[in-house]
């Protein structure tokens, strides 16, 4: 159990700045994910938390104590590496016993020949063996204790790595992309197990991944990183529904959110030359609107001029390139005729919109409805504005 506080952490390698002014608070027992694309600095940050790298600037506090100067073994942390880093020449049991041996035996009792006879070693041994077996049973690898890592499957090796980390009862549990070496099916399974582990142990987890699905499903909070900075730290739902910027909105959510550049003119919003029958109360004229693929719905027909509907949605003509049938839903790729440069993705649930199957299959041109209540508004620099988009109808504004 531990509270982690990062204060103004910065890291430079020579002239290159890899992390910029990172401040973060992880509560006791929380599961926090560090997400971002390759190169965003998340692994570096994790290694700094572990003590494998020293920050160029800033402080790290564990339970209020400054640990910035401390070596990894003094921080009461455990870490699971991406490729597990198991000792290939030791058995599973010996791998898991290592941290206990290191902490419980004095140096002389750890030397090669001495350790078989030293009294300190012999006293500690039964306790260590018992603890290893308990953790092994918990992870269901107790039948593998005598094997070597080379003889195990990927999933089993993963568990041994987890066991080695658990056996030391750490305050902080660090994981560096632990699922990336597993195949898809195994990944889902292990994801669930890690979540269960977190729930049952109550330990504080810091989890690094580039896969936003993992982050969104497992975490209490997610810290999205890009270019060495933290863009937003929030609960998954908040990240999804209230992203702080276009970059955050783009990263979270699959398929990716649709971003359209619009212009706010006195009479309303324009997408290129097309009037959208919507108005945003804003002084700036260049804006971006974001609409999630599931917030677009397909109406029938083709070639209709954009027009508001009674239900309060805008219909725009749409050119379809490609359909991906995913089973319960369809992904439609195409573009609005008003803005052919931008690729749009639509997510249509079969039970509702699929009634228009024949049109979808046959016609290239569809009509797509945008619900203005589900729009996100961003300024030209990408920051989200808390402004509603209002429908206009015949020159009068109607709020919905």
């Amino acid at each position: 159990m531990a509270r982690l506080t990062l204060k103004n952490i910065g890291k430079s390698f020579g002239e290159t700045e890899v992390l910029t002014d990172i401040s973060l608070d992880v509560e006791d027992g929380e599961f926090l994910s560090l997400v971002g694309q390759s190169g965003c600095g998340k692994s570096t940050l994790l290694r700094i938390i572990a003590g494998l790298e020293a920050p160029s600037r800033g402080e790290i506090l564990l339970d209020g104590q400054a640990v910035t100067e401390l070596a990894p073994k003094q921080r009461n942390i455990a870490m699971v590496f991406q490729d597990y880093a198991l000792y290939p020449h030791m058995s599973v049991a010996e791998n898991m016993a290592m941290p206990l041996l290191m902490s419980r035996l004095p140096m002389h009792a750890r030397l090669p020949l001495v350790r078989h006879v030293a009294p300190a070693a012999r006293h500690a041994k039964p306790g260590i063996v018992a603890q290893v077996e308990t953790v092994a049973k918990q992870l269901r690898i107790d039948h593998l204790l005598a094997r070597r890592p080379g003889q195990l499957s990927g999933g089993q090796r993963q568990r041994v790595a987890l066991g080695r980390a658990l056996v030391r009862n750490p305050g902080l549990f660090l994981m560096d992309e632990p699922l990336s070496n597993l195949d898809a099916k195994l990944r889902v399974e292990v994801r669930r197990e890690i979540s269960e582990l977190h729930a049952s142990s109550g330990l504080t987890f810091v989890y690094v991944t580039h896969d936003q699905t993992e982050a969104m499903t497992m975490s209490d909070r997610v810290a999205l990183m890009q270019g060495g900075e933290v863009l937003q730290v929030a609960a998954p739902n908040t990240l999804y529904g209230a992203p702080v910027s276009v970059d955050v909105a783009r990263f979270i959510g699959a398929p990716q959110i649709n971003i359209l550049p619009v212009q706010s003119r006195p009479d309303g919003l324009y997408l290129g030359d097309t009037f959208l029958h919507m108005k945003i109360a804003c002084e700036v004229s260049d804006l971006q609107i974001g609409v999630r693929p599931e917030a677009l719905s397909v109406r029938g027909g083709s070639g209709l001029a954009p027009q508001p509907l009674h239900s309060g949605a805008i219909i725009l003509p749409f050119q379809k390139y490609m359909i991906e049938d995913l089973g319960p839903e369809i992904l439609i790729h195409g573009c609005f005729e008003a803005e052919p440069e931008i690729e749009i993705r639509i997510r249509a649930q079969k039970s509702t919109d699929y009634g228009h199957a024949r049109q979808l299959a046959a016609s290239k041109r569809l009509s797509v409805a945008i619900d203005p209540t589900q729009l996100m508004v961003f300024n030209a620099q990408g920051l989200r504005l808390e402004l509603p988009a209002l429908m206009t109808r015949n020159m009068s504004e109607v709020a919905l």
Partner: protein
């Protein structure tokens, strides 16, 4: 083409490709080995065409031959001096260089230089350096109050001097091998060990470095052992077995018997004993490596 004719065509091609090698292996290895066996049971001497089979006579002679016992003893003493130091010194050198990556290139070159040099030529240099009256080594030793040492002229010191020269010429080789082995150890093993609490150099060495170097260590140990038994060049150039046969090592004796005294039969027997010893070392490596290499 049917599958069978394809297979036959492949086999035919293969036979064509291996033919020259097979002929040479037969003529250079197989035939001579059989012949050596044969000769070792005779008292053949190149100078006369008359020879007769004497069965195990040559081998029995070995047991009573003072020169044989002497040569074996000298070789073992020399190996005892040479092997541990060449192994451990080069290991620690490699570890030290591994931690100073910025100097690795230049240090590798400097330490490896003696390996490529002609030992026979450099032996002359060492003889000059080790000269008991005028050699630079004794000059400098004298300056700090040690010596003078009779490196090559004293019966008790000569094997040590041979070992030092060999050490000089071989350390770079072992060191490069160890460096390659060290580089192959994944960095995150050390990181995991650091997190587990093993960040003291002694712990790191015994828990990660030494076990992971297993195959490399074995290879270095075996090749060094074989090299130790093959000592010849420095003896031939510098001491010719002296003073008083105190530096007459096994291979030199074999050479003398065969090509100076022309006791071919006896020399053949000696060289088979030599082969047996080398075979033993190679066997040890084969067995050990199979059992310990697991990843």
């Amino acid at each position: 083409m049917s599958l069978i004719t394809k297979k036959r065509a492949q086999a035919r091609l293969a036979y064509m490709l291996v033919l020259p090698a097979v002929l040479l292996i037969f003529g250079i290895y197989v035939l001579p080995i059989i012949t050596v066996f044969g000769i070792s049971f005779t008292d053949y001497s190149l100078v006369s065409n008359y020879f007769e089979f004497i069965g195990l006579g040559n081998y029995r002679q070995m047991l009573t031959d003072e020169a044989f016992g002497n040569a074996l003893r000298n070789t073992l003493i020399y190996a005892g001096l040479f092997l541990p130091s060449s192994f451990f010194i080069s290991l620690f050198l490699a570890i030290a260089i591994q931690e100073r990556k910025q100097f690795r290139s230049i240090l590798e070159v400097l330490y490896f230089l003696p390996v490529t040099s002609t030992l026979a030529a450099m032996a002359l240099v060492w003889a000059a350096l080790m000269d008991s009256n005028q050699g630079v080594i004794n000059l400098w030793a004298g300056a700090i109050g040690l010596g003078p040492f009779n490196w090559l002229g004293s019966e008790t010191m000569v094997l040590l001097s041979m070992a030092l020269i060999s050490l000089w010429s071989v350390i770079g080789f072992n060191m490069v091998l160890f460096l390659a082995g060290l580089t192959a150890i994944p960095a995150n093993l050390y990181e995991a060990a650091a997190i587990d609490g093993a960040d003291h150099p002694v712990d790191k060495f015994f828990r990660v470095t030494w076990p992971m170097l297993g195959p490399t260590s074995m290879f270095v140990a075996v090749t060094s052992s074989i090299t130790a038994f093959k000592l010849f060049d420095t003896v031939a150039i510098l001491t010719q077995g002296g003073p008083n046969r105190s530096s007459e090592v096994f291979l030199y004796l074999t050479f003398l018997e065969g090509f100076e005294y022309f006791n071919m039969g006896y020399s053949a027997a000696l060289s088979l004993v030599f082969l047996g010893i080398i075979f033993l070392f190679a066997l040890v490596q084969a067995l050990f490596v199979d059992r310990n290499v697991q990843y």
